[in-house]
Symmetry: C2
Subunit: 185 residues, 2 copies
């Protein structure tokens, strides 16, 4: 599969892609190594600055790369990458370079050392905003400092993990904009 | 709409309902008041104990109820409640009792003071596990201490917020169980 052409995007709009709770691919680089991990445990925490929290288990190979570089890229894959997403989560970066293994393009980022995953629909470059819970709770709070989003498709058909090998695929889009107070939009 | 009949469920299986990232309704009670808030900013943080983190802005009426009671109930609504979910998010518990306003059943919980929202598909009673980030980051880390899940439908058709009044509705369920290593399930 080829890389998707992405355009610069406002960082405060990252919620549009992350808040629905998709499985993401988190790329990291440090110590001359790079890695990708599959992640379902993340949450938006703010718009401006644009904040995202991620849980990275301290036994994961990505933990030390994220902790030591204080950077990562959050990539949002579509359902067409589902088998790759699963396989990335079932091997370790200690044993294999996952970009090579899965023929994924490591696209240089603009502001961080970790590469974007070219085949993903959108990629958000992150710097560590608050590391106070890294040791105690494996919790990294990131600031998104640069956003890249493919213009087509307008929204990726994301996958959402239920555990036990089961996924929900994103369905219909509906608007309730007219029910919102203007200051709640 | 009537309350759904729910059964006790293993707490460590809550991820099945929460990890896909649905909009949830968080109910709280303290100081003789009760409230419900609509929330999209949450993440699973563990299985055993069964942990969930939520971001509750300190200007929300629910913030002080959650902080002072150190308890809440996380309720998962299906798409049939979407208009109510939006309307709950567009008024304040300072002005109105949301259970009354929206004709929702406040079902007594088993282990916490906050009520379940009867009309939701599943409800997870929570006690505060780690409050160290409440003041600094509006972040509550909860332990789910009792789970209630409707046996039918087997899975709710959840809604997932994109911001700007737009929602994604949960689509197809797919399994990739056979691609997983046994210890990754």
């Amino acid at each position: 599969m080829r890389s998707l052409h992405k355009l610069d995007h406002p960082v405060e709009d990252a919620r549009r892609f992350l808040e629905p709770g998709p499985i993401i691919l988190v790329s990291t680089a440090a110590h001359g190594q790079r890695n990708i991990m599959t992640m379902g445990w993340h949450m938006v925490m703010g718009f401006s600055p644009s904040l995202v929290a991620t849980y990275i288990w301290n036994e994961n190979h990505s933990f030390s790369l994220a902790r030591d570089s204080r950077e990562c890229v959050i990539n949002v894959p579509g359902v067409e990458l589902l088998d790759t997403v699963v396989d990335i989560g079932n091997c370790s970066g200690r044993d294999v370079d996952k970009f090579d293994r899965f023929s994924l393009d490591a696209v240089p980022a603009g502001k961080v050392g970790a590469p974007l995953v070219g085949q993903c629909h959108s990629s958000f470059e992150c710097r560590l905003h608050d590391g106070s819970q890294v040791v105690s709770n494996n919790l990294f709070i990131w600031e998104i400092v640069k956003a890249h989003v493919a213009p087509r498709p307008k929204l990726p058909r994301t996958v959402h993990y239920r555990g036990d090998g089961q996924f929900m695929v994103a369905g219909a889009e509906v608007s309730r904009r007219r029910r919102f107070k203007p200051d709640m939009l």
